[in-house]
């Protein structure tokens, strides 16, 4: 395999991790209607791409399905470490940047917005600077956090396992070209900004 990595999660419902390229954290995510959702609804499920080794500076993005919960993940490692963009949490009313360190969850930034189906959420980390994006436009301000120095890009969801939540994932190294295949589905206007890391 090579980076950037992509996945559209085509497969049998309930498959977790989605395929052999992924490793679960906690309960992981599972395939649902050719997308992914939490492997156990109501619990935070993470999976990270383990078929390639990422640089420390990396990004991930994915497309929200149906306004459900979840989002892209960076610097995931072990079983309990990651930074993640948590779309539509708090009963679907807000979006957060979280860090997960040794199993503890900490709010890093609150964005005061939600994601609709088709919206693309992205998170990138360079050094100790974390940026989050909605449809290519940065949301909030740059966050500084130094807890996690390395890891892999991934995806997470809290959504009930009966509903698809996130799809069309890509993870790669900051500064590297995005995969062309996943840049086709979003509206054309988003493409140039999706390349920003």
């Amino acid at each position: 395999m090579s980076l950037p990595a992509t996945d559209t999660f085509t497969g049998t419902d309930g498959t977790s991790p989605p395929n052999a390229n992924w490793t679960n954290q906690d309960i992981g995510v599972a395939i649902k209607t050719n997308a992914v959702t939490s492997a156990s609804g109501g619990s935070y499920g993470f999976s990270y791409w383990s078929a390639d080794v990422f640089n420390n500076d990396q990004y991930a993005f994915c497309t929200n399905v149906g306004g459900q919960n979840g989002g892209p993940v960076v610097r995931a490692s072990g079983t309990n470490n990651a930074y993640f963009l948590d779309e539509n949490d708090s009963g679907g009313s807000n979006t957060y940047l979280f860090k997960r360190v040794a199993g503890g969850y900490t709010v890093v930034q609150t964005f005061g917005l939600t994601f609709a189906g088709g919206d693309v959420g992205k998170i990138s980390v360079s050094g100790t600077t974390i940026k989050c994006f909605k449809n290519g436009a940065q949301i909030g301000t740059d966050s500084t956090d130094s807890s996690l120095a390395s890891g892999s890009a991934g995806i997470m969801s809290l959504t009930a396992s009966t509903l698809p939540a996130q799809d069309s994932w890509e993870g790669g190294n900051v500064g590297a070209a995005a995969a062309a295949s996943l840049l086709v589905p979003p509206p054309m206007a988003r493409i140039p900004t999706l390349l920003q890391c």
Binding site: Y44, N81, D89, S90, S93, N94, Y96, F98, V101, A102, G103, G104, Y105, T106, V107, V108, Q109, T110, G112, T128, T129, G140, T141, D142, S143, T144, D145, S146, S147, L148, A149
Partner: protein
């Protein structure tokens, strides 16, 4: 014509009022305790700004935890009323505005005591320093503690205090502290076994982020 003038006057008045209201907020900085258990539905958040657990809590622009210690730094764009409300709490250290003002002799003992209560070394704070200079060093201490947390866990556990010597720390904690400092680009060669933790942390912090550290939309 008169109706048009009335409409324009009303519209301008609304815009001026809105601009005035918006101008009433000001970016402020606070040191507050941590709230939450670290698990859902109460993740770690800054106390009084814990919007995940309590949507009615104050909004913030940026926040940084001091590792697993009971301290958060907060950057928040607040109205005077919100600022007054949060500073009414005895466990809040509010940084005066403007931040380029010097620490006053009256405030110095409070600043030092509240930082040290959270295991942030503060014996170096003097009235010759501006609050911005104080914040700048504290932010770098925070990033060091975050990396230590990611590598090891909590530093001030098992009886360790700011006045503990490096060689009094458990070996694995000592090694993790060196790894945390070096992974952030710091040179630890001047730190000896007899160096106090408070001194060692500042030696490392002063080497970090030489080109600036962004926090709440401002670079320190």
């Amino acid at each position: 014509m008169r109706a048009v003038r009335t409409f324009v006057f009303a519209a301008v008045s609304v815009l001026l009022f809105a601009a005035s209201a918006a101008a009433q907020t000001e970016m402020r900085y606070y040191v507050v305790p941590r709230s939450g258990t670290g698990q859902f539905p109460t993740p770690y958040e800054p106390k009084y700004f814990n919007q995940f657990a309590d949507p009615s809590a104050l909004p913030f622009v940026g926040t940084m935890d001091y590792g697993l210690e009971n301290v958060f730094l907060v950057a928040a764009d607040l109205t005077p009323a919100q600022h007054t409300a949060v500073t009414a709490n005895a466990d809040v250290l509010a940084v005066p505005s403007p931040i380029d003002a010097n620490v006053s002799a009256l405030a110095l003992p409070t600043v030092q005591a509240k930082l040290e209560a959270g295991n942030i070394p503060a014996d170096w704070v003097t009235t010759a320093m501006t609050y911005q200079q104080v914040l700048s060093r504290v932010l770098r201490l925070v990033t060091l503690m975050q990396r230590f947390n990611g590598l090891f866990g909590r530093l001030f556990a098992g009886g360790a205090t700011l006045d503990t010597r490096i060689n009094q720390l458990p070996v694995n904690a000592r090694n993790a502290l060196v790894s945390a400092a070096q992974s952030l680009g710091a040179d630890t060669s001047t730190i000896q076994g007899t160096t106090l933790l408070r001194t060692a942390l500042v030696i490392v912090a002063d080497q970090l982020f030489p080109s600036g550290l962004p926090f709440g939309g401002v670079t320190f």
